[in-house]
Amino acid sequence: MQLHPDVRISVTGGGTGTGIAAMINGTVDIANASREMKPEEIAAARANGIEPVEFVVANDAIAVVVHPSNPVDHLTLQQISDIYTGKITRWSQVGGEDRPIVLLSRESNSGTYVYFLEHVIRLGEKDNQALFSPDTLLMPSSEGISAEVRQNPNAIGYDGLGYVTPDQKMIAVARSEAGPYVLPSVESVNDGSYPIARPLYMYTAGEPRGQVKAYLDWILSEGQTQVARLGFVPLLH
């Protein structure tokens, strides 16, 4: 904004689904997304005469968080999947206190929700039809999740690394029981050792031109320092 005082950017919140729906309806220049557009969404955009172009602008780890007083500090992907499908219902089953587990998730319009379902709950298996347990609390915002995790020792939640505040405890995650158990961080995402990491996307309506192009060029170069400052993982060059 300081470099280009003549350009006005208005940003609207929601979730990935909200942004992609707006892109399909032709009301935005750029849609941010935390998952890839689905083939039917691309088809819908094309039907409206819009050709979405994909850019990977940053990487992100999805952190699994619990209350700071919870003694559990590491889980395997299989255990997290069993917790979220309702097969494991008490913390004592994964080495914690004898407490019930309260499942927290983002609303289903969040790209994080879809990514977590496909890559953690279904363990990335295409024919796996597992779903979130119906007991999962769907919170309308990241703040809703952190507020509940902060105050409820029974809670388990997940969210992008950039949203995790210091008063929540992150869980070290392993692909299998053999380990290693890795905490999410910029390093563990870049070297591929943290298992729940994903790219973040920006979609433009058609090949970017003019100011939109200048903005994307900035994001992919200098903007990466901002990516790191906000707690996301910058792209490797």
Binding site: G14, G15, G17, T18, A21, I24, N25, E41, A44, R99, P100, I101, V102, E107, S108, N109, Y113, V114, L131, F132, P134, D135, T136, L137, L138, M139, P140, G144, A147, E148, Q151, N152, N154, A155
Partner: protein
Amino acid sequence: MIAGRVHTTPPRWGEFFLETLVRILGVSTIGFVALIFLFLLREGAPVFVEVPLSNLFGRAWYPTFDYFGTLPLILGSILVTLTAIVLALPLGVASAVFVREVAPGWAREVLKPLIEVLAGIPSVVLGFFGMTLVAPFIRETLGAPTGLTAFTGALILAYMALPTIISVAEDALDAVPKSYRDASLAMGATRWQTIWRVVVPAARSGIVTAVMLGMGRAIGETMAVMMVTGNAARMPLTLDSLFRPVRTMTATIAAEMGEVAQGSTHYHALFGLGIILFVLTFLINLAAATTMFRKRQRGGLR
């Protein structure tokens, strides 16, 4: 005669014009309601064709994966609303009795406007209050796994329905003729007996209306409910369901409407929920209107 006719014709035109205008305005209000319902039907009806009824009234609501079971949402709304009324009814009627029958004149003058101010608190403020104070309190005192429960939602809703219940019930008590009270006291009844055996039963239908209106307010409430009930689409059938999370129809529509692609099955399903909600509130209002109509027919008390 002729002169008279000449005289009265010009003002009649003005009258005719005004009368027509008022009539158009009056009818258009009904017209708008009808149009809204038609819009709701047009957007929501397709879901009853697109989704098999066994799925639509099934137990699983995962709209992203084509499970459109509305049953947990309908039951969730009903559970939260009924609990709210059970909590608000005794409090509301007792408050109305106090304000109308017991409180001295000056206290009534202070209490009535205060109760009306209560109705003006934005629901999002109550929701925030519920999320940060009531929910942790409920988790700690009742030992529920989480404080975001149907009961928390019902507490907040009861608080929101109270002003409606109190003012309408108070009006109903107010309409009980003074002669009833005088007669009762003259027969030797105490003040307490007069209130509970004569005045309240005489105002019964008005109190029923108050409860119906409060219920209509509670079932349609969205923001506060979304913030405190936890929004888990589980079937509230077990005994402990009141102290477990639920998801209501209103919260579902509000949370999901922003993301759906227009014209998709999910979009139609959300409008379908709107239709179900509309029918439920319509039935409640109809019940309220019938009780009001019946007592008017009896020619007795308002």
